[in-house]
Symmetry: C2
Subunit: 146 residues, 2 copies
């Protein structure tokens, strides 16, 4: 994958927002850019920090919520009370989430990755339980930290 120029990212951002019927605003562009600029997932706090104190906290909350509602990003549950958000891949934005990949949290660098090629396994539930969604989060050491 070749590194994109700023201009390329910028137009990619506009396109993504349009595709999801969102008006193009400063905060949405900036936050979406943060997601595109890096591989892992971002917590609300990360975004506030990296946005460079340009946006109100409320705006960040509302923007993230909008992105989740529109299917642009998905949430990743954690055990430390800080939901992570990650960009959905192409298949998501069509309306139904393609949420069948697993997530990986590195215990060293604390980065969160979507392992898009690893499909969630089948789970055999006891009688009476029915599954709507399966979330798999693997904790360990990532390829950059070993």
């Amino acid at each position: 994958m070749s590194k994109q120029t700023d201009i390329q990212i910028d137009s990619q951002v506009d396109e993504l927002l349009k595709k999801n019927n969102l008006s193009i605003t400063g905060s949405r562009k900036k936050i979406l850019q943060l997601f595109l600029e890096q591989t892992g997932a971002l917590a609300h706090g990360d975004i506030e920090k990296r946005a460079g104190e340009k946006f109100d906290r409320v705006t960040v909350y509302r923007t993230l919520q909008t992105f989740v509602d529109k299917g642009l990003v998905h949430t990743i549950p954690t055990a430390d009370n800080s939901i992570r958000y990650a960009l959905c891949k192409d298949e998501c934005s069509q309306g139904h989430h393609h949420d069948h990949h697993i997530h990986f949290v590195c215990s060293q660098c604390n980065n969160t990755y979507c392992l898009d090629d690893v499909v969630t396994p089948e789970i055999n539930l006891p009688k009476g339980y029915s599954a709507e969604h399966i979330e798999v989060v693997v904790e360990g050491v990532c390829k950059n930290c070993r």
Copy 2:
């Protein structure tokens, strides 16, 4: 499984605390009792409510932390910023967690269950990643709500 009397639960609580080298105090007994009295997992907030405003919030935080440290309870990651805590089964308290079961969150009643009989599956990670712990959370409808 037959319903236990209060006295039975009470002595079970003392035993559990002793086994984990914890001094026996009012809040620890009460909180442990809450866990034993019900099947699912509890969030910090649940405990504050059910304890009947008897304990300081700080005490609840510290007690839960102690329980996690000693391996009496384990945490369950969620996507709504409210960590759930659940009692570990016997095998845990020996020192190393027997954390190979999956968790189930009911989208109707919002209860969280440990499905102790459902073992976490093997996950084939990409080259370079190594797993230390695998967490599986299934969301769906539980046997009481369908």
